[in-house]
């Protein structure tokens, strides 16, 4: 009951300081008046009475002071005084303050940046109800059963199997989802949207509530259901946020759907609409895989579900369970699955920044100790004036906390800037066709999942402040304790005893620290330079065409037949070619670097050769290209002519690349030769083009492979894929996008163009991952290097301070400046050589894990190692020159008088 009152009073004393002081003086004045009145009543003159009262009261100022102490304001006053004093002291030593704050800012900034990523990616739950009960069924497919011949862990499921799971699983609610893309047409444009076909239970499994209307119903799980749930964004964009949205219809791919519900804006930002899922029976040729999401039923544990799923899975496949060995079927939390790829990396990163922070603390402690000597006299005086040891320690700790809080604030600025810089680098920024087809698209938009959610927010800021205070105490306590040991009178004796106290051991620790920082920084710098050089090599690969070309996908509604699509593509390409700003335009079934569209590889040989039993490595890549496509890409024609719209009756014509010509014709000219593609027919070669890369090479040694480019045709089994265009324009390729839209719209308002970008940007996007890693390592490397330099500087500076007496004696005995300089520099050189050598060894060990990420370089690239070692050693020598020079400035007289 008492403490709330106490707290209230204390807060009042604190916040309403003026008011409390004013009340106190009123109270004391009342006392004086009362006392004066009494004396007057006893017969004194008013003047004497007043004096007598004042005399009796004593020192009013002291009473006020003591009253304020009684209110518990003393520690706060002291703190304020300490902070002000600390700031003044720091301002007086801008060099020391600057170096300390820089190193703290780097350390805390790095920690903050990593923490902001860790908290967004690992710690924050997904934005669904009970997100930890969302699970996925996974199957560990053994290598022997996988058509690719490798063991695989998958949660994609044959769509026939989903029904089985749904009826049999007692521990799980199960829902299927499969991506679907449809076009929507408005008065002035047609666009393609990404949606999902989902089981009606899908919504309950995610635990989301509709913003309007309802979700899909179980009886709507059939092909002819004309219901749709739309996103808030779609509602806004296509229905003008009409409040009567539930009475509206939406037309997708020329089919009309009734809107039954609206998804809230804050979830599933990348999905525009939801249609009912229905299982199409699989045919022997084609099975459709769907992704499955499940929720643990109430009261069911993850283990129980895993056990049931494993039993059911074996029943479903009609296979016996392996007695021991890993479970074939398992369930994992969606949350864990989403971050499984990056969790180990982020854990290592967290430990690494922890280590960096400790190193930073050690460095600043060294700097504080080095400076301590110059403050010895100040502390002597303060102790002589009566300051207690505790008071001195508190003052010193206040100084170090002030230092680290300032460092922390600067660190937050650095972290904010760093996160701003790194975030966009992690996003692939590629049209879907060029992105990996693996995994749900939501997770593969960036190198790190959930990268959009990474921010320096309140939680992170609180973390920074906590870290700052903890580091402040950590690096401040040892120097503070040591300095406070200075006795009132025995200060001089103590000074000599401090410098006499096993300096070797203290040095040993400092040196170990400095060396380990150099090791870490060298390793990181080697990795950074390797990654950066590899990126440069990757960027300079000759892809065989000029990437400054516009590319887009021409999207036709699903109802159009393959014949219609081809005719439309031909018309669009003809019309585009007639634009004055366009120099060439064509289309293909699968553009370079794309992972979507047909990927034909077949036995294409000169007609007189045998094609049966051909090695897969000898088969040619076959792409269909419209006559102008290769020209639009900017491929060089080596011999013959480009493809032309062939006259009826003649053989279909093809163009081959140089690799193909070399492989099958050697030095001969293949133009005019006849080729046979297995059972597909005969073709006539009309031209040879320069080799071009159709995928990004994995190594510098890889060859582009041999390819045959043929005219587009309507194949019997055409899947109705969309043609990808290349348009070469005069000037900026993106400047003609509006013209392209207009042309497409004039030809058929139902057509959309999607994935509009340039091949330049595609190339840039494909390098996102290596670029991201290179930048992250560069940041870590630069920070580690700076911290290590400050570390060396601190250790040497502390060493020089401690050896002031020794240096003084040496100089008094006739040592020259050069010799003193050499004394310190020899020590520095030893540290640097040991540190960097060990760092290089560390790099040879750790870069083994880097081999798959390097392009055109080996992890043991000598030039890189040499350059890093040389540059870093030079900079480190320069950093150690500063304290070394200070040693030469030691005045022997002053140094000896100290004792």
């Amino acid at each position: 009951m008492r403490w709330p009152d106490q707290l209230r009073l204390r807060v009042r004393s604190l916040l309403r300081r003026g008011r409390v002081d004013e009340e106190l003086s009123r109270e004391l004045r009342f006392h004086l008046d009362q006392q004066t009145d009494e004396h007057i009543a006893a017969g004194m003159t008013p003047r004497d009475a007043r004096f007598a009262a004042l005399r009796e009261m004593g020192n009013v100022l002291r009473i006020s002071e003591e009253c304020r102490d009684a209110r518990g304001l003393r520690p706060l006053d002291d703190l304020k005084q300490d902070v002000r004093y600390a700031l003044r002291t720091l301002a007086r030593n801008p060099g020391f303050a600057g170096v300390s704050i820089l190193t703290l800012a780097l350390g805390i900034g790095l920690t903050t940046g990593v923490f902001s990523v860790v908290s967004a990616v690992l710690l924050r739950p997904l934005p669904y109800d009970d997100a930890d009960r969302l699970v996925a069924i996974v199957e560990n497919v053994p290598a022997a059963e996988n058509f690719r011949g490798v063991a695989m862990r998958t949660s994609a499921m044959n769509q026939d199997e989903i029904l089985w799971w749904r009826t049999h699983a007692q521990t799980l609610h199960v829902a299927a989802a499969t991506p679907v893309r449809q076009t929507i047409r408005t008065a002035d444009r047609t666009v393609r949207l990404s949606g999902l076909r989902v089981s009606p239970t899908w919504f309950e499994i995610y635990g989301v509530q509709p913003a309007r209307g309802r979700w899909l119903r179980p009886d709507e799980e059939r092909p002819d259901a004309d219901v749709i749930v739309i996103s808030t964004a779609m509602w806004r964009e296509f229905l003008g946020s009409d409040p009567r949205v539930l009475e509206r219809t939406i037309v997708l791919d020329a089919r009309s759907y009734r809107v039954v519900g609206v998804m809230p804006a804050n979830v599933f930002a990348n999905i525009a609409f939801w249609l009912p899922f229905f299982a199409e029976p699989s045919t022997p040729d084609a099975t459709t895989f769907v992704s499955v999401t499940s929720r643990l039923r109430d009261g069911v544990s993850l283990e129980a579900a895993a056990a049931e799923v494993n039993v059911l899975g074996h029943q479903l496949r009609g296979i016996a369970q392996e007695p021991d060995g890993p479970a074939r079927f398992d369930v994992v939390r969606v949350q864990d699955q989403a971050i499984a790829r990056v969790r180990p990396a982020l854990r290592i990163l967290s430990v690494a920044v922890g280590a960096v922070l400790i190193v930073v603390c050690a460095n600043v402690a060294n700097l504080l100790l080095a400076r301590g000597a110059s403050r010895r006299r100040e502390i002597e005086i303060r102790r002589a004036l009566g300051a207690s040891r505790g008071r001195i320690v508190r003052q010193m700790l206040t100084e170090s906390i002030v230092l680290s809080v300032v460092g922390g604030l600067a660190g937050t600025v650095i972290a904010t800037a760093g996160v701003q810089l790194v975030k966009p680098l992690a996003v692939y920024g590629l049209p879907e066709a060029f992105r990996s087809a693996l995994g749900p698209a939501v997770l593969d938009r960036s190198v790190l999942p959930r990268i959009d959610e990474v921010t320096i927010n309140g939680g992170v800021f609180t973390f920074v402040l906590a870290i700052a205070v903890v580091t402040g105490v950590l690096f401040g306590i040892a120097p503070a304790l040591r300095l406070s040991r200075v006795e009132r009178v025995a200060a001089h004796a103590d000074a000599s005893s401090t410098s006499g106290r096993s300096p070797r051991r203290q040095h040993g620790l400092g040196h170990t620290l400095a060396v380990s920082q150099l090791v870490l920084a060298t390793t990181l710098l080697v990795v950074t330079v390797l990654l950066a050089r590899s990126l440069v090599k990757l960027s300079s690969v000759d892809i065989g065409f000029d990437p400054g070309v516009l590319t887009f996908e021409l999207v036709a509604p699903g109802s159009y037949s393959p014949t219609q699509r081809l005719a439309l593509a031909q018309r669009v390409s003809d019309e585009l070619r007639s634009l004055p700003t366009v120099t060439a335009a064509g289309f293909t079934d699968r553009p370079p670097f794309s992972r979507m569209g047909p990927s034909w590889q077949g036995p294409v040989v000169p007609v007189e050769r045998e094609w049966r039993g051909m090695d897969r490595a000898d088969m040619a890549m076959i792409r269909s290209v419209s006559p102008d496509y290769l020209r639009a890409l900017g491929v060089d024609l080596v011999a013959g002519r480009w493809l032309e719209n062939r006259p009826e009756g003649a053989l279909p014509t093809v163009v081959v690349n140089r690799a193909y010509a070399r492989r099958f014709f050697g030095e001969q000219n293949p133009v005019g030769a006849t080729l046979r593609w297995g059972t597909m027919g005969l073709f006539q070669v009309v031209g040879v083009v320069e080799d071009i890369w159709l995928h990004l090479p994995a190594t510098l040694e890889e060859e582009p492979g041999h390819a045959v480019f043929m005219q587009p045709r309507v194949a019997k089994d055409a899947q109705g894929g969309n043609p990808s265009f290349a348009v070469r324009a005069v000037g900026d390729p993106l400047s003609i996008v509006t013209d392209v839209r207009r042309v497409v719209r004039q030809i058929d308002p139902g057509l959309a163009i999607d994935g509009t970008t340039t091949m330049d940007r595609v190339l840039g996007g494909l390098q996102t991952r290596p670029r991201f890693y290179a930048v992250v390592f560069a940041i870590f490397g630069a920070v580690a290097a700076l911290i290590a330099l400050i570390g060396i500087y601190g250790v040497l500076a502390y060493g020089v301070t401690q050896r002031t007496k020794e240096i003084g004696i040496r100089m008094a005995l006739g040592a020259r400046r050069g010799e003193v300089l050499g004394l310190v520099m020899r020590q520095a050189a030893l540290l640097i050589i040991v540190g960097i050598t060990m760092g290089l060894l560390g790099a040879t060990w750790s870069t083994r894990y880097l081999a798959t990420m390097l392009f055109g370089l080996t992890p043991l690239d000598g030039a890189t190692y040499g350059a890093v070692a040389l540059t870093f050693a030079t900079v480190a020598i320069v950093a150690s020159y500063v304290p070394a020079r200070r040693a030469t400035r030691v005045d022997p007289l002053v140094a000896l008088r100290y004792e």
Binding site: L24, I63, E66, C67
Partner: protein, 109 residues
């Protein structure tokens, strides 16, 4: 009658609490009252009175309010809180035990 005795701090707190246990008083009146009751044997050192009052208030034993005196001046009146009252009871009991013990020692030796 000798020179009045200056009260030591622990005792002062106790006497202040006792003095205001009947009715709220201001600082001057507290000092006067202690002097009167003890027949001028005890003298409240004025330098300690106000710090003691503020400390007791901070500790929650007493509370303060501004009110007018009979002479029409504004003064800060102190009164016991409930916690203060029970604290006082404990202090009184302690004091009685201590003083009777001391008396016992003084008289028997």
């Amino acid at each position: 009658m000798g020179k009045p005795i200056d009260i030591v701090q622990g005792t002062l707190d106790f006497l202040i609490l006792k003095t205001i246990s009947l009715e709220p008083k201001h600082g001057w009146a507290i000092a006067k009252r202690i002097q009167q009751i003890s027949h001028d044997e005890l003298k409240v050192p004025q330098g300690s009175l106000y710090p003691a009052l503020h400390r007791l208030e901070q500790q929650g034993w007493i509370r303060a309010a501004w009110a007018s005196t009979e002479t029409g001046r504004e003064a800060k009146f102190y009164s016991l809180t409930r916690a203060g009252r029970s604290h006082l009871a404990k202090e009184v009991a302690n004091w009685e035990r201590l003083s009777s013990a001391i008396n016992l020692v003084v008289r028997t030796t």
